[in-house]
Symmetry: C2
Subunit: 348 residues, 2 copies
Amino acid sequence: MANKDTPIRIVQYGLGPIGKGAAKLILEKAGSGRLELVGAIDIDPAKANKTVGEVVGTSSDVVISSNAEKVLAEAQPDLVIHTTSSFLPQVEGQLTQCIRAGVSVISSTEELPYPFDRHPSIANNLDTLARKYGVTILGTGVNPGYAMDVLALVATGVCTSVRSVAVRRRVDASLRRLPLQRKIGAGITVEEFNERREQGGLGHVGLVESLRLVMHGLGWPIKKMSESLEPVVAESEVKTPYLTVPPDRVAGIKHTAEAYLDGRIAVSLDLRMYVGANDPVDRVVVDGDPPIDLVVQGGIFGDTATVGALVNAIPQVINASPGLRTVTDLPIPRCFLPGIPYHAPLEL
Amino acid sequence: MANKDTPIRIVQYGLGPIGKGAAKLILEKAGSGRLELVGAIDIDPAKANKTVGEVVGTSSDVVISSNAEKVLAEAQPDLVIHTTSSFLPQVEGQLTQCIRAGVSVISSTEELPYPFDRHPSIANNLDTLARKYGVTILGTGVNPGYAMDVLALVATGVCTSVRSVAVRRRVDASLRRLPLQRKIGAGITVEEFNERREQGGLGHVGLVESLRLVMHGLGWPIKKMSESLEPVVAESEVKTPYLTVPPDRVAGIKHTAEAYLDGRIAVSLDLRMYVGANDPVDRVVVDGDPPIDLVVQGGIFGDTATVGALVNAIPQVINASPGLRTVTDLPIPRCFLPGIPYHAPLEL
């Protein structure tokens, strides 16, 4: 556990677009004396043995290593920021390795923010192990972790009753990183979309996790759920910095999920993420007393926000009780070390 | 501390408009088996010895007593919902009496959500005593406690940096209870307003507490603050269920407060509360990365929301560590027992 008078020692695990953004932000906030980047892990041979400075473009002599065990043992971090994969089974070993080293973890793994239903056995293992080693594990990010779950719950925070919660998020994928544009099928045909949907390689990982977080936070059991994934088709040509989508090709996804209670929809999530979405927005409508209609005008820009969500959780996780936690267990999110500017746009 | 298998035992302390709403809501939610109203305290002789049922219009045999010590000893509550006064010095004795009885408190006292600067000695006493007796004390409500502080902090939750936060709340006081309409000077002349302002009897108690909560939550020290209170003058006649405001008379208040950092405004709050405000709204604008423009369209209706804030904090306070806490210490707010409808409009 970090001493209050010494900086929190951080290892960055994974230096893809989000991981690079997190490392860069930690380096910038390190000037406060509250944080320190003490190690970096990436399995990519092209990154190993380079310095973090070379990879993220900010001064840092920390050398990237592909040997996680060695980094954890030598750097003795308080906490790992973990950004390697969306899927929990793929990262379980990485997480347990951190836990056994006595290190808390904040991970962007989209299946981690509420893993108890999709991966009950892994969730139980992580929780048991984390308690044994006295560390805290948290999955978060902008979505899941904030836009479609935390904001939805906070919107009900002064309601005396709630009948239903509807969450809408429309993202202009034109401005997002290329891997994300690929994940939503931008540029492929509707036929390809339908094929890839069957194979399970499309859609937003973590939407159902947000649904479960909201139901869990409200104390509502999930008795029935539905989910659908449809293509959003481009009406006219859309150009992004990375690709061009001709008319009638796929611009992105409409991914929805609903949880039912007593035969009616209790919580519904509607995520549209496509290139050429000109009016991005986040909205939560609570049918309750009082009714709440909360809108984030212009939406929340995802890549920067995910980096923010991970880094802002650092003090919260350091102070949390041991175990596998969710964002519903932690204090209200807020910017950590807000005055440290993050001028440079993310190169993602 | 409440056992998880038995209902949380609640005493309602104060049966003014907000207290009546809280008692009624607790009675309605008691059907869940998670809550129980076990006592009620009010110093008003007109209410003492009546049942809560008679006073709030919902079935309840709980007898209201003016003897707080006796109620606390006999009812053995886990928690008191305390709604008697806006000012901390006036309620310190009531709060310490609850603490010494081993009872946690959620209070609507507007000076309690962040008392460490205005009343450092009382805050220290309450904190020390609460830790000694193993209970938790929290001040909350819709404002302070949510609209101009919690929402503002949550809006920064995915920001990598924040330069400033501006919070705007416009309330149509026409729909609010008469005591509130009086507190904002509705119907008086501008001259009377200026006189009463000098005497300190006007304005929104708790605005500066919200400002301090936001600065505290962001980790920013308050080096310089400013505050102003101006009348909003009616342009044409305004009628409310309680009173009529002729043109050129006071319709309500514009109450603002700012905190500075490095010579610039870091956090600014602007509260306009007047009869005839036709476009109520709550808005938080974060100048940060990413920028956030969060709007609650139509605003948050305050009287119901304050009752909601108090009751929704119950499980959070029951599970909190002992001491004087703020809303920034607790998990994200959300509706507690959301499925229990609150059909009847509050008669305030």
